[in-house]
Amino acid sequence: MDPAHAPGVYTGGANVVAVLILLAEFGMLRQALVRDQIRLYAAQAGLISVLAVIVGAVHHLPELYVLAALSAALKVVVIPLVLRRLLREDGPAGPPVDVGDIAGSGGLGLAATVLLAIAVAAFGFFAAGRIPVPGSGAPATALSVSVSVVLVAFVLMIHRRDVISQAIGLFSLENGISLAALVVAASLPLILEVALLFDLLVAVIVFGLLIRIHHGRAESLSTTDLTSLRG
C-alpha cells in the first residue's frame, strides 16, 4: 500500500459523511432515551441528504438535490414529528405511552453490545468490500459502510426488547439502504425514490399503530410480554 496515497478531498469527504452515518447508527444502539434515539435518527437522515447533495454536486445529477430535499423533509422533519406525536402522553387516541428510559431493554451489557456490533459491522465491511461496484455515485467505501449500517440496525432490532427501538432500527435500516442506493444507482429515476420514501411513511404509520396497540394490550412497550402467548 502506498503510504502517501490520499483519496482526494471529494472521496474523503463523502467517506467521512458515510462513516458519520454509521456512527449515528452505533449511537442509536447505545442510546438510552427514546427522544435522543429519534433525534439521532433525524441526524442520520440529515447526513444522508448532505451526502446526496455532495454526490449530486460532483457528478452533476440535479435530481439528487430534489431527492435530498424530499428525503430531508420527510425523514428529518415529518417522521420524527409523527413518532413523537404517536408517543406523546396526550396522544390522539388510546392511553398515554410512557416514553422514558429504554436503557434496560437490551439483552446484553452496553460494552458487550458495542463489541458485538463492531464484529457484525466488520463482517459487513469486508463482505461488501469484495463486491466490484461500477460506481457512478458515491465512492465504493460508502457501500461497505451502508451494509454495516444495515447489519448494525439488525443488531439494534434484535437485542433491544422495546418496540420503539425496534421501529427505529427498521427505519434506520432504510437509511442504510438509501446510502447504498446513492453508491450503486445515484441516478435512479426520481419517481422510484419518491415511491420508496412514501413506503417508509406508511411503515411509520403502521409501526406507530402497532406500538400503541401493543401498549394498550400489554401496558408496556416491551416485547417480552408477548412470550406469554406461547402455549
Partner: protein
C-alpha cells in the same frame, strides 16, 4: 536574526519547553474552567507557586515503605523527560534522537512511569492510594487496545509508526486530513487523552477526597518535593499527550522547518498557543458533561475503541 542553533540544543529545548510550560498549561485550563463557571479563578501561574511551595516542604514517607516509594517520583519524572525527545515538539524535521522510539515506544515509557507510581502507591498501605493504583491499572488495560488501533491506523497511513512521518503526511495535502481514517483515529486518541489526563467524563480533576478518584488518588501518601515531582510529572504527561495530539494529528503547522533561532522561538510560541486552545476546548468539555459512573467508563472506552476500529476498517478497504 539568523543565528543557527545546533541540533543538540534544539533537542534539549524540546524537553525544556515541555517541562517548563506544563504547569502553565494546567493553569490555563483551571483559569478557563473557572471563567466558564463565572468565577475569577486562580492565576495562570498558580501551579508554579504551588510547586515552589511543595519543594520547600519536608518529605515524609509512611512507616514500612521501602526505598522504592521515594524513588518512584524520580523514575516517573525521568520517563516524562524522555518522551519529549521522541515526538515532534518544535521541529517538523526529525531530530536524531527522534528515531530512538516510535509511538509505541513513547507509550511504553509513559506506561512505565505510571507503573512506577502505582507500585509506590502499593508500598504505602493506604487504602485510597491502592484503590487509585488498582483502578488506574484496570482502566489502562481497557484503553490500551484503543491506543494500539490508533497506532495501526497511523502505520497503515504512513507505512511507519514514527510520529514525525504522520505529521509530515498530514501536512502534505488536504486529502490526508479529511479522510475518515485520520479523523476517526484523532477522535479516538482525543478520548484516550481525556481518560489519561483524568478529565471530566472519566474523573473530576479538581476533586479532593472522592470515591470516583482514579489517577489523583495514587499520590495521597507522597509529600514535599516528591509530591511536587509527581504533580509536575502529571502536568508534563498532560502536555506531552496534548503535544502528540496537536503536533502529530490535528495541527502539525507552525513547527520550525530550519535550525534558525527565530524559527525555533516561533515554534515554541505556536506550540503554547495551540496547546492553550486545546486546553480551552477541554475546559469546555469539563464544564458541559457530567462525570461518568465508575462502571460506565468501560462504555466510554468502548466508544473510543469503536472509533479506532472503524478507522482501521475504512483504511483496509482502501477508501479511507
Amino acid at each position: 536574526m539568523s543565528v543557527s542553533l545546533p541540533i543538540p540544543v534544539i533537542q534539549a529545548l524540546q524537553v525544556v519547553t515541555i517541562v517548563a510550560a506544563a504547569p502553565g498549561v494546567s493553569g490555563v485550563i483551571a483559569r478557563a474552567e473557572a471563567r466558564l463557571q463565572g468565577r475569577r479563578g486562580p492565576r495562570i501561574f498558580q501551579p508554579y507557586y504551588d510547586l515552589a511551595k511543595l519543594f520547600r516542604k519536608e518529605a515524609l514517607a509512611p512507616e514500612g515503605a521501602s526505598w522504592f516509594f521515594l524513588a518512584a517520583p524520580l523514575a516517573a519524572f525521568t520517563c516524562y523527560l524522555t518522551v519529549p525527545l521522541l515526538i515532534p515538539v518544535l521541529t517538523s524535521y526529525p531530530l536524531p534522537l527522534g528515531y530512538m522510539g516510535d509511538i509505541l515506544g513513547g507509550g511504553f515509557i509513559l506506561s512505565l512511569a505510571s507503573f512506577c507510581v502505582a507500585v509506590a502507591a502499593l508500598e504505602t498501605g493506604s487504602p485510597y492510594a491502592q484503590l487509585g493504583a488498582s483502578r488506574a491499572k484496570t482502566f489502562a488495560a481497557i484503553t490500551e487496545p484503543v491506543v494500539l488501533f490508533v497506532v495501526f491506523t497511523v502505520a497503515l497511513l504512513t507505512g511507519t509508526d514514527l510520529p514525525y512521518a504522520l505529521a509530515a503526511t498530514v501536512r502534505s495535502s488536504a486529502g490526508q486530513i479529511i479522510r475518515p481514517a485520520h479523523l476517526l483515529a484523532a477522535a479516538a486518541l482525543f478520548m484516550v487523552i481525556l481518560y489519561e489526563t483524568g478529565r471530566i467524563p472519566v474523573e473530576t480533576h479538581t476533586g479532593t477526597n472522592e470515591f470516583g478518584m482514579i489517577e489523583e488518588a495514587r499520590l495521597f501518601e507522597h509529600s514535599g518535593p516528591y509530591f511536587a515531582l509527581l504533580k509536575w510529572g502529571s502536568a508534563a504527561k498532560q502536555l506531552i499527550l496534548y503535544t502528540i495530539f496537536v503536533n502529530v494529528f490535528v495541527a502539525p503547522w507552525g513547527l520550525a522547518a530550519s535550525q534558525q533561532a527565530g524559527a525555533v522561538a516561533l515554534a515554541i510560541a505556536a506550540l503554547i498557543v495551540k496547546v492553550a486552545l486545546l486546553g480551552t476546548v477541554i475546559a469546555v468539555i469539563d464544564n458541559s458533561f457530567a462525570k461518568l459512573r465508575l462502571f460506565k467508563i468501560t462504555e466510554f472506552a468502548a466508544a473510543a475503541f469503536l472509533l479506532a476500529v472503524l478507522g482501521v476498517f475504512t483504511l483496509y478497504l482502501g477508501g479511507g
